[in-house]
């Protein structure tokens, strides 16, 4: 009967599995701290190939734009141009990071895990919003620094004339442009919960609205209050009048606050599939 005993050992599977040792101490009676949720959401933005490549792509586009500025015309451009070269690509592409942070939960169906490890869905979603803003603020600071660095390098290395003149609100405009775009992307993502739909809506809707506003006179008046591209323009040129602030506020309300609110309402009530 020795032949039966020399049969290849069964895989370790057959042996009784040993459960990991129980965790000492009692079970938690307090919830997950919000800061931890934000930290995890931040990590989730960077730990997938999609997220990482998106950030790399933004970096590449910015580097390309700066190189063009640096080479063309002997690098002789005002700082404002450099700032635009770093902020514009950021403003256009960064919202996709925010969109993916929300829609991936549904397209990859990770919501099943996310909303069972923290059942208070509004907290998770606010953590996503906050994490996106952290990424946005870091990105804005980075783009400002990079723009300044590039301008300084153009002055130092290529003998360009230094022109650091910037209207006070340009900083605000550039930062607002990136961060509001990010929030708008998040809002659309929460409403649509589908990556392609949210990306298309984010890029097409406001632009279509801008075009409509410039073509149809009846829409023109409304567009002055509701076209985010137009209401943000004064930020880049200098001071804003009271009416311009009101117009900016109104458009932000419609394109940013409304989608975020409706999206939040839906996420906290819907069935998670």
């Amino acid at each position: 009967m020795s032949t039966t005993t020399t049969a290849p050992a069964a895989p370790t599977d057959a042996a009784a599995p040993r459960l990991p040792a129980p965790i000492a101490g009692g079970r938690p009676t307090t919830g997950i701290p919000f800061t931890r949720l934000v930290a995890v959401e931040l990590r989730k933005m960077l730990d997938t190939r999609a997220g990482r490549w998106l950030l790399i792509a933004i970096g590449v586009v910015i580097a390309g734009a700066l190189t063009v500025l640096f080479v063309r015309g002997g690098g002789d451009h005002p700082f404002g141009d450099y700032l635009q070269a770093t902020t514009m690509p950021m403003a256009i592409l960064l919202p996709i990071v925010g969109i993916l942070a929300v829609t991936a939960e549904w397209s990859q169906r990770t919501a099943l895990v996310t909303f069972t490890l923290e059942a208070r869905r509004a907290r998770v979603t606010w953590a996503k919003v906050l994490a996106s803003l952290v990424v946005g603020v870091v990105a804005v600071a980075f783009s400002f620094a990079l723009g300044a660095l590039a301008h300084a390098a153009a002055v130092g290395l290529r003998g360009a004339t230094g022109d650091w003149d910037l209207a006070g609100t340009v900083w605000l405009g550039a930062a607002g442009y990136v961060l509001l775009g990010l929030l708008q992307g998040l809002g659309f993502a929460m409403l649509l919960r589908n990556t392609p739909a949210a990306v298309v809506a984010y890029f097409v809707l406001p632009t279509a609205w801008s075009i409509l506003g410039s073509l149809v006179t009846q829409v023109e008046t409304a567009a002055r209050w509701l076209d985010l591209n137009r209401t943000m323009e004064p930020l880049f040129t200098g001071s804003l009048t009271g009416e311009q602030w009101a117009q900016l506020g109104t458009s932000v309300g419609v394109w940013v606050v409304l989608p975020l609110t409706a999206g939040m309402w839906w996420i906290t009530r819907a069935e998670v599939k």
Partner: protein, 299 residues
């Protein structure tokens, strides 16, 4: 401890769960058995707070899931092994879980080792995982934060026979520690091997529930002897209902001991005597769910 109390879930005119009540108790493995589309997954999703019940309520450890503080430390869930980001590595998924639940990161390695995923496999992206590997990762994720309740939806799917055996003893060990296990399956053989209690669902209704022993006991005794006709008469004298089994032998509606006594008195030698175990539960499963099962339409 899981308690589902008169839960009904409707989608428009369709009733997915119809007044469903059952319990899963600590220290025991509760098998949730039913054909595809019977409502097992919906019921488990209601337990996990992912699907709101139309009426009724479900509690875990005495409270609604959504009110559990840091729920991962209390309940381990595996509802869909494919519901993981394809672009993340298995290790990353567990690391995220460890950070969020606040457990030592070393448990990531412990649970990976437990489910038999090598570190090379754990560092691969999930899109390259087989279903079996996803199931193992899902079980690792469920056990990561040392929960006292496990809810597993079709965990044996995609596991090879050795893997199924491994899981069986894993869940047994978990229950012996005092944990509560609720696992679903549409395979009867799998459930009756592992479960202490069985809940059978069909067409959104609970059609039977009880301990596995109880449900098996109801299925009578299969007996073969040198003289079946004489044994049948002896059993009939004792008011035991007897039916002839086509393949030979008798099915007696009583326990094996009574049949043995009757045979002794009748002077008939027994060739085979056993509880009508698997076949009985199988009959019950088909009978109870036939009207609601998809296969029912063809029968």
């Amino acid at each position: 401890m899981i308690s589902v109390d008169h839960v009904t879930k409707r989608y428009g005119a369709f009733t997915a769960l119809d007044d469903v009540s059952f319990e899963a108790r600590p220290g025991r493995v509760t098998g949730f058995l039913g054909p595809n589309g019977a409502g097992k997954t919906t019921a488990m999703r209601v337990v996990a707070g992912l699907t709101p019940a139309t009426t009724g309520r479900a509690t875990v450890l005495g409270r609604p899931y959504a009110t559990l503080p840091n729920p991962g430390r209390h309940v381990g869930l595996l509802l869909d092994a494919s519901a993981q980001h394809a672009g993340r590595t298995g290790r990353e998924v567990l690391t995220l879980g460890a950070i969020l639940t606040g457990v030592d990161r070393r448990r990531v390695d412990d649970t990976l080792e437990l489910v038999g995923l090598t570190s090379k496999e754990a560092n691969r992206r999930i899109r390259n995982y087989s279903l079996g590997m996803r199931q193992r990762l899902g079980i690792a994720h469920a056990l990561l934060a040392d929960p006292e309740v496990l809810v597993l939806d079709e965990p044996a799917n995609g596991l090879d026979p050795a893997g199924i055996r491994w899981m069986r003893s894993l869940l047994r060990g978990f229950a012996e520690r005092g944990g509560t296990v609720l696992l679903s399956s549409h395979l009867l053989g799998e459930i009756e091997r592992i479960a202490d209690d069985i809940v059978v669902i069909g067409g959104g209704r609970i059609v039977a529930s009880g301990t596995t022993a109880e449900l098996l006991a109801g299925s009578g005794t299969v007996v073969r002897s040198t003289d079946d006709a004489r044994l049948a008469r002896a059993l009939a004298d004792r008011a035991v209902a007897v039916t002839k089994v086509e393949a030979g032998g008798l099915l007696a509606d009583t326990d094996p001991a009574t049949v043995g006594q009757a045979a002794l008195h009748a002077g008939v030698a027994l060739l085979e005597l056993r509880g009508g175990d698997e076949r009985g539960l199988e009959e019950m499963f088909f009978e109870l769910t036939a009207s609601s099962a998809r296969e029912g339409a063809m029968a």
